[in-house]
Symmetry: C2
Subunit: 212 residues, 2 copies
């Protein structure tokens, strides 16, 4: 099936205008239809040996969200202590999650035992199934952006705590907690770039030919 130039440009527009959203969530509900579309896009990510190791825990309950928010607070406090004094103040000033504001949270996981012990393509590199679930996250993120929804990946939370809160089974690994919702606006640039925390790297410096 051929992708047209206009469709291709839509893909690039979506990729370049995707942002990690923390402070711009609106309370407006996300329709079931749209939620279904973005989950189905995630489910059509590439997966090693076609194992489809992902699950999706959709969180709307305010009590559960509050537990996740509390777990974020713990990890966030620990994190602040790791930065040098000069960076610590700026770190604390950043809004790094929208757990309570976003109408939906989605935990994407990886079931390491799905389809058995031996998986095509996971024989030499055991982490391949985790990477498949990350591909599902990125598909979901781009689909959500294409629906003009914001997504924020909250990684400042201990995954073992997230596992406990959500009752995730032993051999299933949390990959991402995503906040999802309609938003007031998308920032033109990544917020950490805008704040002068780090610059966008020149791509020429990242490309090597035939050898590093």
């Amino acid at each position: 099936m051929k992708i047209t130039t206009a469709e291709r440009d839509g893909v690039y527009k979506t990729i370049y205008n995707r942002r990690d959203i923390r402070g711009e969530f609106l309370p407006d509900p996300v329709s079931d239809e749209v939620l279904e579309r973005i989950l189905n896009a995630a489910h059509h990510a590439p997966s090693v040996g076609f194992m489809q190791p992902w699950d999706f825990v959709v969180v709307r309950n305010q009590t559960v969200k509050q537990q996740i928010k509390n777990a974020f607070e713990v990890a966030h406090k620990e994190a602040a202590e790791m930065f040098d004094e000069e960076q610590r103040e700026q770190y604390r000033s950043f809004k790094l999650e929208g757990i309570m504001e976003a109408p939906i949270g989605i935990t994407v996981t990886c079931d390491r035992r799905r389809t058995g012990d031996v998986v095509i393509g996971r024989t030499a590199n055991k982490e391949m199934d985790l990477y498949s679930s990350v591909c599902a996250v990125q598909n979901l993120w781009l689909a959500a952006r294409a629906e003009n929804l914001g997504v924020g990946w909250v990684s400042i939370i201990h995954h073992r705590t997230l596992k406990e809160i959500l009752g995730i089974p032993k051999f299933v690994v949390p990959i991402a907690y995503l906040c999802i919702g309609h938003i007031s606006h998308f920032h033109e640039k990544p917020e950490l770039e805008k704040a002068g925390w780090l610059p966008r790297l020149p791509i020429e410096e990242l490309i090597h030919h035939d050898r590093w």
Copy 2:
């Protein structure tokens, strides 16, 4: 910036028609312009703390490709031994890579020391930088699909061998070796699904509400 319904549909069409390509590569060269576009799409993936941990080693040299192909053969032989006898024959019958046929190989890596030891968002979960590089892979894959190029992820190769072949530095981790090129056609369904190796899972079984 608003994504229109037509652009959104282009994103979904790209997601649903993306395949892992092994046997359909054509020798036609990929233009530098297109290569630049797909690498730039990868460079605009989300990254934890905006660390942009990725590098891209673009392989066109036939001798280097042959070394990578040899490394695949080693890992592929080891892998076949891991399957039950009944699955082994079918495993051996699959074409699982297009290393020599694809005009371009790209190794996507993760520099774990980029931007220093303490990275926003990598404090509670150390693997977050690896996941950022996987997001770059998925952006590249979708951009390539939108350009009607095929991509195949070769994971049946020991990453330590790939590191040696390409001279990748100590603290840099290979994430993916991708074969890229024009192709004769895209399969309608994933090949492992078509071959009856594994079925597509019903998505309803993968969605949980508020708790697993």
